[in-house]
Subunit: 342 residues, 2 copies
């Protein structure tokens, strides 16, 4: 088995987990599930040195102070501007040998079953070594409308060819996908050889590939930190790796993994991930009393919360902000005044 | 018209309005409706010197510091122990001339229509001057199960004889009472001559009457403050004026008053009193944002409250306590840990 290079992307702002997640303490760096932060858990999952090389972290400047506090030995690539995932991954690929196998991991997801993750990483790395660009597919357990779906194509042994991508379907289509058994969610985790990725980027997004090459050429290392040339990087049109590369390449493959994955995309997703860990449907962090209410989560950093008579309530207290949320409305949090004007 | 002596009873703890009402800042002394506190509004209503004498306030020691801050000129009777309303009223009656007409008013109710209150007070005083013990009856607007009901008897011109009292009926009976038109709520406001009251107390509760007489005999004035003898007062078995006197006397009368009365008995009652003052069903004090929710009240002393997706929610923030309440469960607040262990 060749060594796998973990590439940890630290970008998400997590506004739908406001007010716990804020610019001053963003989602990846919060201990939302257990004692370790989501970012630390992403590093922990790729820490077995018999399988993984030292991680490379790609992040914006605003995250570097949290990374310094929370990460051990690593290399850090600082994005001069937020340009979505394709340019971030291209930076990392440009700094690795062409034959290095990269495993690109978001830093703000949760994976309950680490053994399943490792097994998936092995399969993905093996497919990547054969020249495939591999996406981790998550076995869907509900007709979610907030995710991208991947239709499984021909078998490749360790995985499948990707037949097509479908971005955020409506509920009816999501139900069809779920019942067909032919679809998985796009988990945002990818594996490929650095050289293969750069070749495919050059083929499908030549401008982006050129701009990244110039940004790397003009950049500089300082200890373990690499700063690309800002002028060339700023000029890039931001795009996700899905749109820029995965949906265009003929070498797209998918490894299906059933690993208790969640993107912790909103408070309801966090409620469900916490519920899955425990035995109660009343999940309390901090001082609280709950009466006449089921399926409730209370998370307070100080004041006691006393709740009476609302099923499916989520109450979050974070200093000067209090959120009282019906779980069915969890997607609306990011549009609150507090979340937009942080 | 003879002068009316306002007797302001300051006793209620208001635990169902916790956490805004607490031992450290009890219900009567909070500006729950408008800029003046409920206690100040009780004084304001009886401040017309062409009709009212200087008020006499009967209160426990714990309330005296709030009274000193919030009341103007008055006489103060300090109860050595909480013994419900009958002994408190008897203390006041004992310190007035026998022919003085008393108007006994709780300090933690709200009356929206002061003109109707004054008209009621005139009618009640006139009946009291004829030797009646007069209760203020409130025209019911819903089949409330938390109040005492009074059945109207024969007309007395300015009011009615009381046919009978019914304490907290079940919903079915409350509905019957409401549709019959023969019942009013017992508003907890009373008028009688001091001597008449003491005579009836002696007739129906001779032990209480004796103990109060001894407590007054052994008590002492200091400036405007009267302290009864604690030993005699402590020995009294506490009882409400309704049970001790009103339900037993043959001279019970009632004046029906439609004056926008509320006992502000819980958060839902406060919601309704505030709704009646304004035009919106979303009532906000302090920093708040409300989305996808109707008939909501938010009352915060600091942190911003962002609420999504719960109709009929009441959220109260008071320092180290946060209450999230479904209006249908307002009666349950007094039983919360926070409210019981203040």
């Amino acid at each position: 088995m060749p060594t796998i290079h973990p590439i940890i992307l630290s970008g998400g702002s997590g506004t739908r987990l406001w007010p716990r997640s804020r610019r001053s303490h963003p989602k990846p760096f919060l201990p939302l599930l257990g004692d370790r932060t989501l970012f630390q858990q992403a590093l922990d999952r790729a820490s077995d040195s018999s399988l993984f090389a030292q991680p490379m972290i790609v992040a914006g400047e605003a995250h570097t102070r949290f990374i310094a506090e929370q990460a051990g030995e690593h290399r850090l690539v600082v994005e001069p501007a937020a340009k979505n995932t394709a340019p971030a991954i291209a930076l990392a690929a440009s700094l690795l040998p062409r034959d290095a196998i990269m495993l690109v991991c978001p830093s703000d997801h949760h994976i309950a079953d680490e053994q399943a993750f490792i097994a998936g990483a092995r399969h993905a790395a093996s497919l990547a070594a054969d020249g495939n660009l591999v996406s981790f597919g998550i076995a869907p357990d509900r007709p979610a409308t907030g995710y991208g779906y991947i239709k499984l194509g021909d078998s490749l042994g360790n995985g499948h060819r990707i037949e097509r991508f479908v971005e955020k379907p409506d509920l009816e289509r999501a139900r069809e996908f779920l019942s067909s058994g032919d679809y998985v969610w796009n988990g945002g985790i990818f594996a490929f050889q650095a050289g293969t990725f750069l070749d495919e980027l050059a083929a499908h997004r030549p401008d982006m590939a050129k701009a990244v090459a110039l940004a790397v050429e003009g950049g500089s290392w300082s200890g373990n930190r690499f700063d690309p040339d800002a002028q060339h990087f700023d000029a890039i049109a931001g795009e996700s790796v899905d749109y820029a590369v995965m949906e265009n390449t003929a070498q797209a493959a998918v490894v299906a993994a059933d690993m208790g994955w969640s993107d912790i995309g909103d408070w309801n997703a966090l409620f469900e991930a916490r519920s899955a860990q425990g035995s109660s449907d009343t999940i309390i962090s901090g001082a609280a009393e709950v009466k006449s209410a089921k399926s409730v989560m209370i998370d307070t950093d100080g004041p006691r919360v006393s709740l009476i008579g609302f099923d499916n309530a989520i109450v979050v207290v974070d200093g000067d902000e209090i959120l009282v949320l019906n779980r069915d409305y969890a997607q609306g949090v990011g549009k609150l005044e507090g979340a937009t004007n942080q």
